[in-house]
Symmetry: none
């Protein structure tokens, strides 16, 4: 596939500068794999010179086969030193990446005020650093920091910085609107000039301080830029970076410039929502293209026109970006994800089917209560199986009790569960590292006699999202649990205004799903029953 | 004051089409008064032809003396009818406004598909409706719906619609990008053509479906538009309307076009936050110009440069829009952020200071354990005060116990706390809506005798973030709590591998911060002590 515009994602680096965005090495690996599916061309993973979490990320990515290039980030060498002795540059090489981005000054004011060095030394820092990367065989990208402010202040010096990087062999010259204060017409004019002066492919990196980051990126492309840098959902410092979730469809659907395949574009919405879940950052309901309300129609006139022809109030078809039309206060809202899932499972979910109608109604009600099945495939599957008459319950809850006690600085979490397994009442207790872990342990202890397979599964992820945050400690929460049997991985959901109950729900779904296809072993030997606390019902 | 660009606010009309935005007549009155203070020139209050809430709003506004003009909204007359018998038009006149906006079709496809009438009849509808308003002495504004799509499809018909309105006496011709799908360069080109063809002042009304509404508005102004329509915080259907909170400062601070006075611009942030409160819509933390993070600095290099000169990483001075600079404290920062915070508090944190070194070491350790002070100013302040020898502890924990029990489908959350308040042992219990709410209730109950002020604070936000998610249910969690006393708002943090303990920590910090400057009242009367469960230590 011929690509017109190269997409450089910096969610994992510049995105984490956003307030409240903090990603573990494990989170970063997961997001990188998703970004690769989306088809971005570069994934900037972090700064191996600044923290060990990023070193760990690069180590884990080394053996993965991706289409995207993983890139490391750093600065040009320190003033008055040598590039090959610069720890930050050496770490980039050690990280094993094939491509790296170095940020370097291009605004004279920044050189003298922030770096506190001479204009000549800054040029030498740029030259030496890129020459070093090229000697080590890396693809090298120059992020010219504050380029537009620098150009407005001293165009000749700003251009001299770009020329130095080009001379040293930099493969891309990326113009950064670091402070986000430049207007689209200025961007267009300045990028046009650079494209004439510099004989290297040009990239654009903008920030959203004037709510113009997307427009500025498009203006740069119209002036000749061939690489766009940005983040998923526009995460980033202050007002964020340019939002790739808007830039990619604008370039591809509006300007006819190919970035990713049509199939990949169709995954945009799910990637955006996935990253928002991992980053634990609520996505604005009206986020362009991928938001839940991006194609939602409320006004009565709008709705009736939409029913005549969606083009009347939709600028593109929602399916092109993997989103869907929603008609608010209407029975016609699309449930295509459910229908899709049911078809995958071989269930007849056609509109004439009574069970299908009932389960769709039930799912709507649950979603209204705060459930979200987007990240909880296993809970959705259990719901569908139940609705179609399959028996997936493995036990009936009689009661659980969860106690956390802190006294004399000691903290104890204890859970007591009482369940009914096919007529056997099992009553047991366990401690844990925190209340949910205690529940997990107690429930396994109760089930292991019947389902020894339960010891072969492990919970791999636990997320809590507070819904309606303004209700504070009485707010409803949604818990997502991810589980693996080391062959497959599945996710389940629970919702309650009690975090313990929500966790319990997700936990029970996870175990039900795991054991769905397991045969229950005969009840324990008579002589062991008493010792295990099992009585007949 | 000479105004270059007229600001037309439609928060109260088009803004309420946004998902989750619903305003009572009382809310609308409050917001209108704020908008008038901000200095907008037109306030579109609603559609008196469509609902009684809007009629009530116009009734209440009739006697208020505002600088802004209150305007009513409606459509051109129905097809095949007479303007002076059109209920919607008559209601506009009855509402007592001096100015009104009528939306009318200008895209041939919409005339035939949505209206299902002829192109000629639509022109007559436009002419008759504006002629009617002008005969009744109103200032009349034509919102040409889907003008840009219409122009691209059939430019001559689109222009004919504008000419009809102008001929009938319309005072403003407003070009609407109703579906939000047009690019800035297209807007510029089309508005330039209209400005040549139509001899009336031109306005622009855009939607944000491509994340380009602000850029499109600026492009139209550059092409000759003299009125900008939009909403506070960009509320509106689907992805929202053009955001006036970004447009006004861009026009005034970046393009040198006067919209409001400097003093009024300085109220922008407080107006934006006020409207967000009334509309009960959470404002994105990184919203340009007015968001809480719009001038927040996190990266260590950024922070050290900001301390040298704020211009290094700020495109405008935050005070110009009534916002303020914030230095976030986080893992990505060096020490300059903490130093800035301490300086704000008047503490001597110079590098020679032993206490300063110790507290910085402590903060680093805590951050390594998962604490994050970037969103927890109050916890950081308590930490600094403690380190500098201030006494901010209000009680000593003896023990707490937290019980969640589910049995027969009933769920109960109960907390028992035992604390030592200056030698008095207080032992009490409370139920709650979930475990953290129970702890909150029990702790207040224990403290209210000594600090009655505790009943005047409310928790407004509760967030849980799971750290190291792969440890699943045994993972460490970070809890953030936001609290208000209805004058100030503060945030606190707690970290533990036990969600209950992390919540407890954040809760205790919140109460400590609230009560820091309160005097403890004498212990309860002797005769009440027993009843309250207080014993001497």
């Amino acid at each position: 596939m011929k690509v017109d515009i190269s997409v450089f994602d910096t969610t994992l680096r510049d995105g984490t500068q956003g307030e409240g965005i903090s990603l573990s090495a494990e989170d970063k690996v997961k997001i990188a794999l998703k970004l690769d599916q989306l088809g971005v061309h570069y994934i900037e993973g972090g700064n191996p010179g600044s923290n060990s979490k990023d070193i760990e990320f690069f180590r884990r990515m080394r053996d993965m086969k991706l289409n995207a290039k993983i890139t490391a980030f750093g600065s040009t060498r320190r003033k008055n030193s040598q590039a090959d002795q610069d720890t930050s540059l050496v770490r980039i090489v050690e990280s094993g990446v094939r491509a790296a981005t170095l940020v370097g000054k291009s605004w004279d004011f920044h050189v003298t005020t922030a770096l506190q060095t001479t204009l000549e030394e800054n040029l030498a820092m740029i030259y030496d650093s890129f020459a070093f990367l090229k000697r080590r065989g890396l693809e090298a990208i120059y992020d010219a920091e504050h380029f537009f402010d620098g150009y407005k202040h001293n165009p000749e010096y700003a251009l001299a910085c770009l020329r130095k990087a080009a001379e040293a062999g930099a493969d891309w010259i990326v113009l950064c609107d670091t402070n986000g204060g430049t207007l689209p017409n200025e961007i267009y004019e300045i990028v046009s000039r650079v494209a004439k002066e510099i004989d290297k492919p040009i990239g654009i990196h903008t920030h959203n301080d004037c709510e113009l980051a997307v427009a500025n990126t498009l203006a740069a492309v119209q002036a000749g830029a061939r690489q766009v840098q940005g983040t998923i959902n526009g995460y980033g410092e202050r007002c964020g970076n340019a939002n790739l979730c808007s830039i990619i469809p604008n370039l591809q659907l509006k300007m006819g410039l190919r970035c990713v395949s049509d199939e990949q574009l169709g995954q945009l919405t799910s990637v955006a929502r996935y990253v928002s879940e991992i980053a634990n950052a609520v996505m604005p309901v009206g986020q362009p293209y991928v938001g839940n309300a991006a194609f939602a129609h409320k006004g009565g006139i709008h709705v009736s026109a939409i029913l005549k022809d969606p083009k009347t109030y939709e600028h593109v078809q929602p399916e092109l970006v993997g989103n869907q039309r929603r008609i608010l206060v209407s029975e016609l809202a699309g449930q295509s994800n459910i229908i899709h899932k049911a078809q995958e499972m071989g269930l007849d979910i056609s509109s004439g089917n009574e069970r299908a109608r009932a389960v769709i109604e039930k799912i709507k009600t649950l979603e209204h209560e705060g459930y979200s099945f987007e990240g909880a495939d296993a809970s959705l599957e259990l719901l569908l199986r139940d609705a179609f008459g399959e028996q997936t319950q493995i036990f009936k809850l009689e009661s659980f009790k969860m106690l956390v006690e802190k006294s004399d600085g000691r903290l104890v979490s204890e859970a007591i569960v009482k369940i009914d397994v096919d007529g056997d009442i099992v009553y047991t207790a366990a401690e844990g590292n925190g209340p949910v872990n205690a529940l997990d342990n107690a429930l396994r202890k109760a089930l292991v006699q019947y389902y020894p397979e339960i010891m072969n599964i492990a919970l791999t992820d636990y997320k809590v999202r507070v819904l309606d945050e303004k209700d504070a400690t009485a707010a409803k929460v949604r818990v997502l649990i991810e589980t693996t049997d080391f062959k497959n991985t599945w996710s389940t959901v629970g919702v309650s205004d009690n975090v313990i109950e929500a966790s319990w729900e997700a936990l029970v779904d996870s175990f039900r799903y795991a054991l769905m296809n397991c045969k229950k072993t005969p009840a324990a030997q008579e002589d062991k029953r008493e010792q295990l606390g099992i009585v007949n019902h």
